[in-house]
Symmetry: C2
Subunit: 212 residues, 2 copies
DNA sequence: CGTATTTTGGACCGCTCGGTCCACACATCC
DNA sequence: GGATGTGTGGACCGAGCGGTCCAAAATACG
């Protein structure tokens, strides 16, 4: 059991071993719903009851299929991370330049700033880092992995921008990536703190200036 | 009661009206202890029990003196804000230049990055904004006030820096202040996320570059 | 059909949460 | 020393928390 917990996916139908009653829910959809709820509300503020409602399954199914609140949360983080990596990689390929990719990424949060409150939720990884990465080493690990992936994506963009001559080549790409991670965390904070779109756009303008 | 709650201090000995048993605790010290606990742990993750222990008073005293968890928390935020304003104003006066003041302020978090986990807690206002400013309009108001004060302090420093020729005069001081608030939020995030001192110093280096 | 295997609904659990209440302790004022 | 007013300790509260358990339901296989 503990081994399963650690090595997951101890999820439903581990490898669809035919026998038995079939799952009555779409595990992927359910996980997605949980992720969005955690994303909006944070870990502590989200109750199992709310999760059940939004995931559309019963308590025993949740425990059977996902193993408990924390395990579910970790799955959500990892799902978020995977999604993010894919999306970013795809966007970078299609982007006109590394610098524009970065700017667009940041400006996404400006758009978020005009959404209703529950959608102004920033980046799940950042939220988790501030809420309780330090309190739980297990969660912390997964957040760290997420940060690493994000950094890789950003670094790729920075390197490309440097080659393209739109980002200062004298600054270390790794350091700039860390700076951008920091910036994303900051924007997450100010958006949640109530900054409006215009303000976020201005901030992004200054952030980008540091790349010159 | 509600009026008292809103207009506080409905605290102990509202204006020390002589009669009755005297307070057995130092209200200021108690409030300080509560503030530090909230600061380290966040609102949701801090229980009344923990607060009682660290404040050194009994349940009824807490409710009598501070009115409940949320009211106590709001008091802590305001206390934090007031302290902060004073400290920043004092430091700015003594600083060699506006720019150096800003840099030192940011580097403070680098120093925090080598503290044990429970002391790597960033800025209470930022933490509160990310945790649940959106969920509670009452708290949100107080956070907003805090942000405003912080912005004022930063703007004063920026303006001074511009006069001194160490900060670009073409950039709007208000925008730069917002940028710095964002940066503080970001640093808070990465520190809580586990960044070490060196990394934070590098990030601060880039942040400062945007002021050129 | 019966049996094995899995999922599911919901009753149930102990615990901790924030919060209330009141008898008593401790002060001042006359 | 009352009378009066305030602070304090601790019992007590209902609610909601995350989590467990098991009988019933639903499939596959022989």
């Amino acid at each position: 059991m503990q081994i399963l917990l650690t090595f997951g996916p101890f999820g439903p139908n581990m490898q669809n071993m035919s026998n038995g009653r079939p799952l009555q829910y779409d595990a992927d959809k359910a996980l997605d719903a949980a992720m969005h709820l955690f994303w909006s509300q944070g870990y502590e503020a989200t109750s199992m009851q709310e999760l059940l409602e939004v995931m559309g399954l019963s308590k025993s199914s949740l425990y059977q299929g996902f193993g408990g609140k924390k395990e579910l949360f970790i799955r959500c983080i990892n799902r978020y991370r995977t999604n993010m990596s894919e999306v970013l990689a795809g966007l970078l390929v299609k982007a006109n330049s590394g610098r524009i990719f970065i700017e667009k990424l940041l400006l996404n949060f400006a758009i978020e700033a005009r959404q209703p409150e529950h959608l102004r939720r920033g980046c799940l990884l950042m939220n988790t880092a501030t809420e309780f990465a330090q309190k739980d080493s297990q969660v912390a690990e997964h957040v760290t992995v997420g940060f690493k992936r994000l950094r890789e994506a950003l670094q790729a963009a920075v390197l490309r921008g440097q080659l393209e001559g739109e980002i200062s080549p004298v600054q270390d790409a790794g350091v700039l990536s860390d700076y951008l991670i920091c910036s994303i965390g900051g924007i997450t904070t100010v958006v949640k703190g109530g900054a409006d779109e215009q303000r976020v756009r201005e901030i992004v303008g200054v952030i980008m200036k540091a790349l010159d």
